[in-house]
Structures are given as C-alpha cells and as structure tokens.
C-alpha cells in the first residue's frame, strides 16, 4: 500500500486533513487533562518534604518539557521550509511559535509560584531559570521578526534562519549559564536512570505531559488552518469554501 505523503504537503489538502484531526486531538486533550488533574490533586500522595506545594509539578514539568520540544520542532519545520521551499512547513513553524512561547511563560510562572514557598523567593538567577527565560526571548525574537516582515515568504525564510541559529545556540546558552551559576535541582526523571519519585506522581506527570502534547497539536492545527486560509484567500479552492458556506 503506497500512501502519497506529498499529497498532504499541499495546503489545500492539509486544510481538510487538519479539520478532521482537530476534534480527535481536542477530545484526547480534554480526557487526559481530566485524568491527569484527578491523579494530581486526589490520588498522588502528599510529599513528605514539600507538602502540597509540590503538586504544581503536574503542570510545571510538562510545560517546561513542551517549551523545549516545541522550539526544536519549530526549528525543524522552519528548516524543512527553508531547504525544500515547502509553504506548509513554514506555516507550521509560524503556528508553533505562540504555543511554545505560552508554555515557556507557563513554566516560568508556575516555577515562580513554586519557588516562593520552597526557596523563599520568586526568582533566582539559576541556570535552568535563566536558560528558560532566554528561550522565551528567542521565541519572542522569532515572532517579532516574522511580524515585522510584510512579505510572507520572506518572513518564513528569515524566521527559519533565526530559529536555526537559536537551536545551535541553545546548548551553548544552557551550558554557559549552568557553569555560571546553579541552584535548581537536577532532573528527577531521566532516560538513563530509574525515576526518583513515587509511581503515582510519575504517572500523573506523564499523563499531563501527553495531555499537553494533545492540546499543543490541536491548537497548532487550528492556527495552521487559519494561516492557510489567510494566505490562500485568493485561490479557487478557498473561493469554493466561501461559496459553500454561504
């Protein structure tokens, strides 16, 4: 069975595919958020050291993960758009940026709420906090560069260059701030070691992460559809859509 993948690289056919996928991801996100929050608030035990305040990790850790994943995915799509001149990839990159910036902000905000009772301060100049803040700056730089350029094709390509330069810099920034100063605890969950936390907490956190993925995919697809309509408004197929709607 040969699937013609390139069929969906055309904005016109992707528009309808995305329209079918959005409800699926939305429902998945709602169910998983409900389950994840239930585990987070009612099933997971109270931490003996941190009390109830630790429960913020159920949103803090997924948001921090998403902020980094989404930047890399955004850069990959932007890079594909730059290399192969595919319009849809660049539209995806543009659609990812606001969601990524939102998760970055959420990670910083929830981190500050957690830091006040735990460390006694809203903000410390620590490696992870600082690099997350710089990540937010990189997202904002990408979005404002695209917003400043009127020609969408030039905006796509210029955004791709700055996104890729940012990806090269993220490890450098991360290690430079890490050597510079550090207070944030090391990663509790890693691929190479067994997790250092209770199983229910881990389950709750993973479910919340998948819920965040589903939410991000749904929102990004909705935004991509809007961008497609905006850019293709002069084409025949969008004209037909409008004809059907009337």
């Amino acid at each position: 069975m040969a699937i013609n993948w390139f069929k969906y690289s055309s904005p016109a056919s992707f528009y309808f595919l995305a329209g079918k996928m959005i409800p699926l991801f939305t429902i998945a996100a709602i169910i998983l958020f409900a389950v994840g929050l239930y585990i987070g608030f009612f099933v997971a035990p109270t931490d003996f050291q941190q009390g109830e305040a630790y429960r913020i990790i159920f949103i803090h850790v997924p948001a921090a993960w998403m902020s980094m994943f989404l930047y890399v995915i955004m850069a990959i799509w932007a890079g594909i758009g730059l290399a192969f001149n595919t319009r849809l990839s660049s539209m995806m990159a543009t659609a990812i940026a606001p969601t990524g910036a939102m998760f970055t902000f959420l990670a910083l905000w929830t981190g500050a709420l957690w830091g006040k009772p735990m460390w006694g301060t809203w903000w410390v100049w620590d490696a992870r906090l600082t690099s997350e803040l710089i990540l937010l700056f990189l997202y904002i730089g990408f979005m404002s560069l695209q917003a400043a350029i009127d020609d969408p094709r030039r905006a796509d390509k210029a955004g791709a260059v700055i996104a890729l330069v940012g990806v090269v810099n993220i490890p450098i920034i991360y290690f430079s701030v890490k050597w510079w100063n550090t207070l944030h605890q090391g990663a509790t969950v890693s691929v190479t070691q067994s997790p250092k936390m209770a199983a229910t907490m881990l389950t709750g956190m993973l479910i919340m992460s998948i819920a965040c993925w589903m939410y991000a995919i749904a929102v990004i697809l909705i935004r991509t559809r809007t961008i497609i309509l905006e850019r293709e408004r002069h084409t025949a197929w969008v004209g037909e859509l409008r004809g059907m709607a009337q």
Partner: protein, 219 residues
C-alpha cells in the same frame, strides 16, 4: 576578496569619522553612568566593573550593527556584491571584520582606562582587555546575522536588539567571568579558551548564515 571589502569599509569609515567616535563615546558614557547611579563605593564598583564594561560593549556593538549593511543596501552596492561571482560568505566576513575594526578595537583599547576608573588591579585589567579582544569579534560576527535579517525593515533597529542580544549572552557570561575567575585566583585560562572557541566557531558559521540571510532579504 575579504581584504578588499575590509579596506573599502575602513576607508568609508575614515571618511565619516563621527560614526566611529559616536560608538566609542556611547561606550564611555554608559560605563561612566554606573558609578553615578550606584554610588562611589569602591568595593562594589570593583566587583561590578567586568559586567558593566561587558554590557556596555555589547550595547555599543549592537547599536552600530545597523550601519553594517544599510548604506550599501540603500545605494545598491550590496546588490552588486550579491551578483558578483565571488563567494558572498567571504564578502560578509570582510564586512563583519571591518565592523569589528571600526567599533570593537576602539572599545578594547579604551577598556583599560575605564577599568582604572573602577580601581581594577593590573592583572584584572589585562584579563579584561584580553577577554574583550577575543569576544568583540564574535559580537560583530553574530550581529551580522541579525543585521542581514532586519535589512530594510521598519523598526529594524529595535528588532535587531531583540534577535541578537539573547545570542550574545554566552559571550557576556564568559567575558565577564574571565575577570571574576582571575580575581578569585582560579585563573582566566578556561574562560579565555572558551571565548577563543566561540570566535573560531563563529568565524566559520556566522558568515555563511549571514550570506543566506542576505539572499533572503534581497530577494
């Protein structure tokens, strides 16, 4: 080829000396403002000095980025450069190095004098100058990418700071860190080596990324 561009840009800069001096005086004024704002407590000033000088160098280098391509863009020279059979990366490398010679080198030469204002020891002054000597070319090279991307855009000056300043952060950390490490008796070798590594990496990668950006901006 790069040499030709460097020579040309230096000649142009010498014909408009006020541009060079504005950047230098901006640097001096910013560094001199800090003691006025913080107060003349010499111990505080001594610990602040490397950071203050480095942040001022970052800002001065960034403010002059707009000039790197804009006049060539306006009079059409840049278009001729893009059409020429020479490698665009080499041309860009020449322009970035010329930018460094015009804006970076005067800052490096001026920094020991400003360091004395902050009562730095002779060793610290030496390390500060060495770190600026290694770090300021990286600022020009990375800044060239931002300057090329924002070419001809409205509000390009503010936008370039948003794009470039986050990328400058590692240079700031290791540049200022070199002085602090030598003051703490750890030796500045590691920090200076890393700055040298950044310089070599950006010498190879930044002109290439700038050339791609210029082609996008000039389409």
């Amino acid at each position: 080829m790069s040499l030709w561009v460097i020579q040309r840009d230096l000649l142009l800069a010498m014909r408009r000396r006020s541009d060079v001096l504005t950047t230098l005086f901006f640097f001096i004024i910013v560094v001199s403002l800090f003691p006025l704002g913080v107060g003349p407590e010499i111990n505080i000033l001594r610990t602040m000095a490397p950071g203050v000088v480095w942040v001022a160098a970052l800002l001065a280098s960034m403010l002059s980025l707009g000039r790197m391509f804009s006049s060539d863009y306006l009079d059409g020279t840049l278009e001729q450069m893009l059409l020429s059979p020479q490698s665009l990366s080499m041309l860009v490398l020449g322009k970035a190095l010329a930018h460094w010679l015009v804006t970076g080198v005067p800052l490096v030469l001026m920094s020991p004098v400003l360091g004395i204002q902050y009562d730095l020891s002779a060793d610290a002054l030496l390390v500060l100058t060495a770190s600026l000597l290694l770090g300021t070319p990286v600022l020009s090279l990375i800044g060239a990418i931002g300057a090329a991307l924002t070419l001809g855009l409205r509000g390009g000056g503010v936008l370039v700071s948003l794009l470039v300043l986050p990328l400058y952060i590692p240079i700031l950390i290791f540049g200022a860190g070199a002085v602090e490490a030598s003051a703490a008796g750890l030796g500045a070798g590691a920090h200076l080596s890393l700055l040298g590594a950044f310089l070599l990496a950006s010498l190879v990668l930044a002109p290439w990324a700038t050339a791609v950006s210029l082609r996008i901006s000039m389409e």
